[in-house]
């Protein structure tokens, strides 16, 4: 069901549409570069603290090639950006011309009329170059509302030395991980896995692993309570109860990374944004090769991790639409993507960038590229981001409150139907 016809179909439509609009949008590059655009572009960057310096420089470099343009770079915390943008856009004052938008937000903003459609505008440049999965998240109801900039997914970070000391292989499934946990405990005294119990995004690999998904947007059906949802909750609880994993119900980002850096746990499920952080820890600082990255372990049915990443969206109310489009195109260009990979090890969304030697040889790209290729597209619906809150509550209830996994999955399903009531989900 997960990677079923719906997704394939919509992805195919997306690629076709992107290819079709390419004819209209192509060829504007050189004329625009000659000074067609001018004015001020306000850009909201949502990158993390380690990344924002680079992004600021990149954004301001746009002024060099377009001297009449003034780029106003504003850094906004990822956690606040969604609300800030909605407040500004809905109130029609203070919204940025271009924003670095999380993949799940695009459909939501587009649905509310906050984003300018980009089909047929100069913003779209060589759309067939985009990775299919990354392009999927920019589409809503048949139109393109954003340009992919960075893609990511979850992987299994592991401490090579520790696994070797325990004499175990990198686990390919959660069952294997549970078995290895005993050896890891007895031979090194450490816990096998840090399980993120505070962030609903980390529920997805377990859910996909049991062959499930949150909702099926083509059939308009809530699927989280079909059975795999309960199994996914049960799997997480089992890992914690059997002491194969430790967890927290808050501060998981900080505590998890610290536990992995300090060698208190052998493995953690994490994304490329934490590679730099992990390498600063005492287990890896002097021995960077000690960090291994593998695909997320499989559940009983499948193996899958969610597709994440960042897109560039243009505000519908921008007073400087033409310049904003040109700026978004630049920020999504192969050249900028190559730069962010070289400087920050982020994963490009353009196929051509992966052919660049500096990118192809990047160790982190080598780790994550196969994982990204197999990442699971999320339901790109307006409510996509809202679906996480009920999952968070029930993760708490199962992991700390003793609620049965089946009941928890049922409750998530009920909440989803409430959230999706306007769309008449079954």
């Amino acid at each position: 069901m997960r990677r079923g016809n719906g997704f394939m179909l919509s992805a195919a439509v997306a690629v076709l549409a992107l290819t079709a609009t390419a004819c209209g949008g192509d060829g504007g590059d050189s004329s625009a570069a000659k000074g067609g655009v001018s004015g001020t572009v306000t850009y909201w960057d949502t990158s993390n603290d380690a990344e924002k310096g680079t992004y600021k420089k990149i954004a301001e470099d746009f002024e060099k090639r377009h001297p009449k343009v003034d780029v106003k770079y504003v850094h906004v915390n990822f956690g606040d950006a969604n609300q800030k943008f909605k407040n500004a856009a809905g109130g029609n004052s203070g919204a940025p011309d271009v924003m670095r938008t999380e993949v799940a937000w695009v459909a939501d903003f587009a649905n509310l009329g906050y984003l300018a459609p980009l089909d047929g505008t100069p913003a779209i440049d060589k759309p067939s170059d985009y990775i299919k999965n990354a392009a999927g998240s920019t589409r809503f109801k048949g139109r393109t509302y954003a340009l992919p900039q960075v893609t990511d997914t979850l992987g299994l970070f592991y401490n090579k030395k520790m696994l070797k000391e325990a004499g175990v292989e990198v686990p390919k499934s959660f069952d294997e991980l549970k078995k290895s946990a005993k050896k890891i405990k007895s031979r090194t005294g450490k816990t096998a896995l840090y399980l993120r119990g505070d962030d609903p995004y980390w529920f997805l690999p377990y859910l996909y692993g049991e062959g499930g998904d949150l909702v099926d947007p083509t059939a308009k059906k809530v699927t989280v309570d079909d059975g795999p949802g309960a199994k996914a909750f049960a799997r997480m609880k089992d890992l914690v109860d059997s002491k194969a994993a430790v967890t927290d119900s808050s501060d998981g980002q900080e505590n998890g990374l610290k536990a992995f850096q300090d060698g208190d746990v052998a493995m953690i499920v994490d994304g490329p944004w934490d590679i730099a952080g992990a390498l600063q820890g005492k287990e890896f600082k002097d021995d960077k090769d000690n960090l291994g990255v593998a695909p997320v372990p499989a559940g009983s049915k499948d193996r899958g991790s969610p597709q994440g990443g960042w897109n560039l969206s243009v505000y519908a109310g921008s007073k400087n639409l033409r310049t904003a489009q040109e700026f978004a195109k630049y920020m999504s260009s192969a050249e900028v993507q190559q730069r962010t990979t070289e400087e920050l090890s982020l994963l490009p969304t353009r196929r051509s960038v992966y052919d660049e030697p500096s990118v192809a040889k990047n160790a982190m790209v080598e780790f994550f590229k196969p994982a990204v290729d197999n990442a699971v597209q999320r339901p790109w619906i307006a409510e996509g981001n809202s679906l996480f809150e009920p999952v968070r509550g029930q993760m708490d209830a199962v992991l700390t409150g003793g609620r049965s996994p089946k009941e928890a999955a049922g409750k998530v399903g009920d909440e989803f139907r409430k959230l999706l009531k306007d769309e008449n989900y079954k």
Binding site: A116, D248, N255
Partner: protein, 360 residues
């Protein structure tokens, strides 16, 4: 609403100090004035219609300058309090959300398409256990916080009201939590509560006690949020109670001591009656604040684990800011219900006080 309550409370506070002193001298008279004052203001409000119009006309002729002076304030209050309030009530009777209200985005003008739905929102909220569960915890949270804060504040104020060495140092120290922005304190507490790396668990670990899941376990999380709110609320309580204590004439204590009253008797018969009018005001104020204390809960636990620490206002916030599209109508209905609850509480509380002989 908030503005109005505070203003009223402030005037009552100012009047309260006097009457407290008066009552300490002669209990009967103090009560008498309080009662008549109350009933007079009540009757003037419900005066005959015709008389009121004539009265207004006369008042306008005689006191036109006073009306002119008041006008800007009235206009500002009507704009910043009245309009949002009325609009909130109106929205709560519709099915408005972020997707169907009127928006102007650049050249796009999206018209409003929401409908009037009467009391449907209220029916849905009151018929759902979500509301009643939150209300139950909100009441426990409010009573717990205000009770503990008041007791602590009074105790510390009594201790600080004596000639102790370094008194001003202690006073400043106890006011510190008030000076720090609430969100900064909450983040500091969040770090202390951290289950794996927090200071509290490190200390417990040193004493051989197993780590406490401060924010991870429903019961501990409730204890944690109450503790932080008490910490934040005590300074205000100390300042208010210190003020009240200093308003009690020292001769009363001297006289009581001469008559052979022990410390406990002096506390019960002089201190408590002396601070009563101030304490009833601050209890009312902190009840309203605590009932609506959004930042502590939201920043410390986000209402979790699951929804064990979610109070009414944090849930209303979730409806209108976390979910998408933002559900303005239901959130407004929650807001109106919260307002009604607090107004009811205030009316009942004031009536009880009046029955006990307070001035309001």
């Amino acid at each position: 609403m908030a503005v109005e309550t505070t203003r009223r409370a402030a005037t009552a506070d100012a009047g309260g100090g006097d009457s407290g002193a008066a009552r300490a001298g002669g209990r009967g008279t103090g009560n008498e004035t309080g009662r008549t004052g109350g009933s007079e203001s009540a009757s003037s409000g419900t005066g005959g219609r015709g008389g009121a119009v004539a009265g207004l006309r006369r008042a306008a002729q005689v006191h036109w300058y006073a009306w002119a002076m008041v006008a800007p304030v009235v206009a500002v209050i009507a704009t910043i309090v009245g309009y949002p309030l009325l609009r909130g009530v109106w929205l709560s009777l519709t099915d408005a959300d972020e997707a169907n209200v009127e928006r102007v985005i650049g050249v796009n003008h999206l018209p409003a398409t929401y409908r009037f739905t009467g009391l449907d929102n209220y029916e849905a909220i009151l018929g759902d256990s979500v509301f009643w569960d939150r209300l139950g915890w909100t009441v426990v949270w409010t009573v717990g916080c205000v009770g503990v804060t008041f007791l602590l504040g009074l105790t510390l104020a009594v201790m600080l009201n004596r000639q102790v060495r370094g008194r001003s140092f202690y006073r400043i120290g106890m006011i510190v939590p008030w000076g720090i922005p609430a969100f900064v304190s909450v983040f500091a507490w969040k770090m202390l509560f951290n289950e794996k790396n927090g200071l509290l668990n490190k200390v417990l670990d040193g004493g051989g006690i197993e780590a406490v899941p401060w924010l991870g376990d429903p019961v501990w999380a409730k204890v944690a949020v109450i503790a932080v709110n008490v910490w934040l609320g005590v300074p205000f309580m100390i300042v208010a109670m210190l003020g009240a204590l200093q308003g009690i004439p020292g001769e009363l204590y001297e006289a009581a001591e001469m008559d052979g009253a022990g410390p406990w008797q002096r506390f019960r018969n002089i201190t408590l009656p002396g601070v009563r009018s101030v304490s009833s005001t601050v209890v009312l104020l902190s009840t309203i604040w605590t009932f609506n204390m959004f930042p502590v809960i939201y920043l410390l636990t986000r209402g979790g684990p699951e929804d064990s620490t979610e109070i009414l206002v944090t849930y209303a916030f979730r409806l209108s800011f976390i979910n998408s599209p933002r559900d303005y109508a239901t959130s407004a209905a929650w807001g109106v219900l919260i307002l009604v609850l607090l107004s009811l509480f205030t009316v009942v509380y004031r009536r009880t006080l009046r029955r006990q002989g307070e001035v309001w």
